[in-house]
Subunit: 533 residues, 2 copies
């Protein structure tokens, strides 16, 4: 399904480490076990090295590769994907893991060696479960679907995508069937990105959240909208990039261990813990685009740059799940980057760079403009209130498709009906409707969308916990000091990498299970103040 390691390609420890799992503690191991562990680390490093090369091939393709490199790049990605799959499922690795099982069972689950062996075993077992022909089918069908979508989307041609999506649905179901221990097919798919997350859990979050969002959206719709016309004036690209670099650098992004480049779609990737790259796109008629996508990707990168360096070249050297990753990107993008104190500090610097566009605008007006709530058709451009309604529509449709209650042929109608009901808008065409997101057109239906909203919910719960522990966090935003916030996140989230599974991490760091209270309070307070509702 997934061709090489991402943030989530690792497994949950059965209980949480209560001490730093990066601290080596092999003194009480015999020489033969130490040697076996060293060989395991060597083989894991080999996997990690090829994964790093794959990340670079991807990054280069999106940034600097000349057009003529395309066909060979696809072959290179295919070869390295096969090679790393071979390493990931090799008999030699199976043998090492078998020899280390007694150790894993003897050690306390929070011992660093136990976490390492457990994560390695999970990765091995999941990779080994996928037959070679299914992996190849995902790869080939994924590439074919994506190419077809690149043509069909601008042509507003859903009909041509129907056979592709039907095949995608079939492959997604076959993949889910490989993991019959999961109650629902979407659980098996979510396990790949958000381990431990079930349909029941997602529903326990989405069901109470949705009416809150709908109510807030309706209340706001009855109030006058702020003026945001100045966001769409002339903003020369070079000055935007200069400002973006200042911002992410001030937030704590380490340019010695990363870089910022331009791509069509912004993303974060890493070739190693010492090389965590972000990308952005610039729209000279929209000052929000580069700015907030950069802060978002910076949030992802701060997470990866904060992982304990002892984890380097092991399966622990990744964010623990897609949702926790989104919690970091959305926390910096929204709770920090769209906050009033943040702009009390940074607005003058922005206005100095764009005196014409922002003449006569003040920090408060800018703050109101970037937080305008308006139901829209496109998820990636949605405000903080309506964004999660977009996500819920996709998630519910995925569940219905996987359960066989909805046919691909009926997907556009179902999509449009939900937009009418939940957001009060109707797509004029499929281009702005069911064809908009890449996810379903990359050979996977189900498993990812939930992470966006779970991440938003987590971001508020984490921010509350951080502010409770370090009350200076919010006051310091106004003087662009982020040490207390970043320090708390590093200590409680980032450094643990994938050693602590996502839901347990949230519970440990916030003192309670994942719930919507913080997020709802955050939205009500912020938008209540902004709109007087």
């Amino acid at each position: 399904m997934k061709e090489h390691a991402s943030a989530s390609a690792t497994a949950p420890p059965r209980t949480a480490p209560t001490r730093d799992p990066s601290a080596a503690d092999a003194a009480d191991l015999d020489a033969s076990t130490r040697e076996t562990l060293a060989e395991l680390r060597r083989q894991l490093a080999e996997i990690n090295n090829v994964d790093g090369a794959l990340s670079l091939l991807d990054w280069d393709q999106a940034t600097y590769m000349p057009r003529g490199g395309g066909p060979a790049r696809a072959r290179q990605l295919g070869s390295l994907g096969r090679i790393v799959h071979g390493l990931r499922t090799s008999p030699a690795l199976a043998d090492l893991l078998a020899r280390l099982r007694p150790l894993e069972e003897r050690l306390p689950p929070d011992a660093p060696e136990a976490a390492l062996v457990r994560e390695a075993r999970r990765d091995f077992e999941r990779a080994s479960r996928v037959p070679t022909d299914l992996a190849a089918a995902f790869r080939e069908h994924g590439a074919a679907t994506f190419s077809a979508w690149m043509v069909a989307r601008p042509a507003n041609d859903f009909a041509s995508m129907r056979p592709y999506l039907e095949r995608t649905l079939e492959l997604s179901r076959r993949y889910a069937d490989l993991f019959p221990e999961h109650v629902h097919p979407i659980d098996a798919l979510m396990e790949e990105h958000d381990r431990g997350t079930t349909l029941a859990l997602v529903r326990s979050i989405f069901e109470p959240l949705k009416p809150e969002l709908v109510a807030l959206r309706r209340a706001i719709a009855a109030r006058p909208a702020p003026d945001d016309s100045f966001l769409y004036r002339d903003y020369p690209a070079a000055a935007q990039l200069d400002f973006v670099r200042e911002i992410v650098s001030t937030l704590g992004y380490d340019f010695e261990r990363g870089r910022l480049d331009l791509t069509h779609h912004p993303f974060m990737t890493k070739t190693s813990l010492g090389d965590v790259r972000i990308t952005t796109r610039v729209d000279e008629r929209n000052v929000e685009r580069a700015l907030f996508s950069s802060i978002h990707e910076c949030g992802h990168a701060l997470y990866e740059q904060g992982i304990a360096l002892d984890f380097e070249a092991t399966p622990l050297a990744h964010g623990t799940s897609a949702a926790v990753h989104e919690s970091q990107s959305r926390l910096w993008e929204n709770l920090v980057g769209r906050s009033r104190p943040f702009w009390r500090h940074f607005f003058s610097s922005l206005a100095a760079r764009f005196p014409e566009a922002l003449g006569g605008v003040d920090a408060e007006a800018f703050y109101r403009a970037i937080n305008k709530v308006e139901p829209s058709l496109v998820r990636v451009e949605a405000d903080e209130v309506t964004y999660n309604l977009h996500v819920m529509i996709r998630f519910d449709l995925e569940v219905a498709l996987l359960e066989g209650r909805l046919a691909i042929a009926d997907l556009p109608d179902a999509w449009n009906a939900r937009y009418r009901d939940d957001l009060g808008v109707e797509p004029p065409d499929d281009r702005l409707g069911v064809l908009q997101d890449v996810h379903w057109y990359s050979a996977s239906i189900g498993g990812y969308f939930q992470s966006y909203t779970l991440g938003n919910v987590m971001s508020a719960q984490l921010f509350d916990a951080a502010c409770a522990a370090r009350p200076e966090i919010v006051p310091e935003l106004e003087s662009a000091r982020f040490d207390a916030l970043l320090g708390w996140l590093r200590e409680n989230v980032h450094r643990h990498g994938a050693a602590v599974p996502p839901l347990e991490l949230i519970e440990r760091t916030t003192g309670k299970r994942l719930g919507i209270e913080s997020f709802v309070r955050y939205l009500r307070t912020k938008f209540g103040d902004l709109y007087g509702v």
Copy 2:
């Protein structure tokens, strides 16, 4: 010795193809042979794909990788190097090659399938001859030596490099011993980069060439030197890069299949035939540096961009040797880029970009300045006349070292003595002497330097043949039309890739064996005119 494929990782066909070896001609092969050939191509493509990834890892390290990525990048290069070595020497490949031997013996040697199998076999056999521990020793010692040199060179500390060089010499000899079929150890080392080239051949070129060069240098020294002070005025970087892009693009470099970036040391690399990249460096106080290094790398790239696309992902998709590669880079850099007609066309464009630096200078004065002959200490900055004397010094010292006639401890004295005798200059320190070139400090003594001078000699012989076949070539330079020249090179050199071995290629395309006549005539004519000698 070499960790992944370069231009020269391929083998000489026993006789030359007399028809296009890229033309498929498998009609008379039985189904089983066709299947074996297809499997061979598949395995060769896998090797090629990993080599492409290795090239990208190297390129990125030299261009955009943040400093923090260094340690992991070394590991990634190591892993992929081991993986590709494993593929290159795999029993599966051995088996295929054994099954294809009857085909290879049955087909005429110029059949495309015969060339493919032969090149694949040579690559396999050479790679298989190198024991794993020696390959690892080269890799590790190479990295250690290079790091030590990076410190020792600025510190002018040859003494600290002595043990490294002694080990390098030992490893180079051990490598040569693996190929006892060669008469002289340097023959075994040269075979890696310039197959078919022997010490006897190099001497047959260098021995008559050296007195010609020394005589010309002496004659020129007695004449007044042209003014070149304007080359060292202020040349803003952006305008230099803009001009360089115009030049290489006009020469025929295809930016759809390549790109130009900045690096500390300029180079050409490719990830596939569709992605051939060049790099340059800019010195704002020296207009020659970016300009001529770019034309030089462009010459290498035109060669690779001109290889028959049918060869893609096979061992034929490389330039045929280091010397032939240098013949292409030096032809464009010197015979074209430092010619009078070239600057009759381009000088006005250059002067328009740098009106202050070039105020009062005309095309003829510029032409004279960039062709100033002056014995100097540094090879890479040498003029066309003295450049080859630098190369001969290094080559002779390598032979003496490999034969045990010279000890590493005596190398600086031997170096300085030769500079005094051959060039009439004496290095004030080892930094400008024996420590200057990276080659010996990358774990190899012997095998490469000869290619620079052989390339220069080839460039003139090829250019003469091209002009004889297409008399419009030189007149067209003045109007910046390079189609006739590039077309002739494409047809006679580039498209053949590694299918024709270097010395045979020269003989076929020029109608005579490699000799110094063209090069000596070129130098005498050009510098005779410039200096009145």
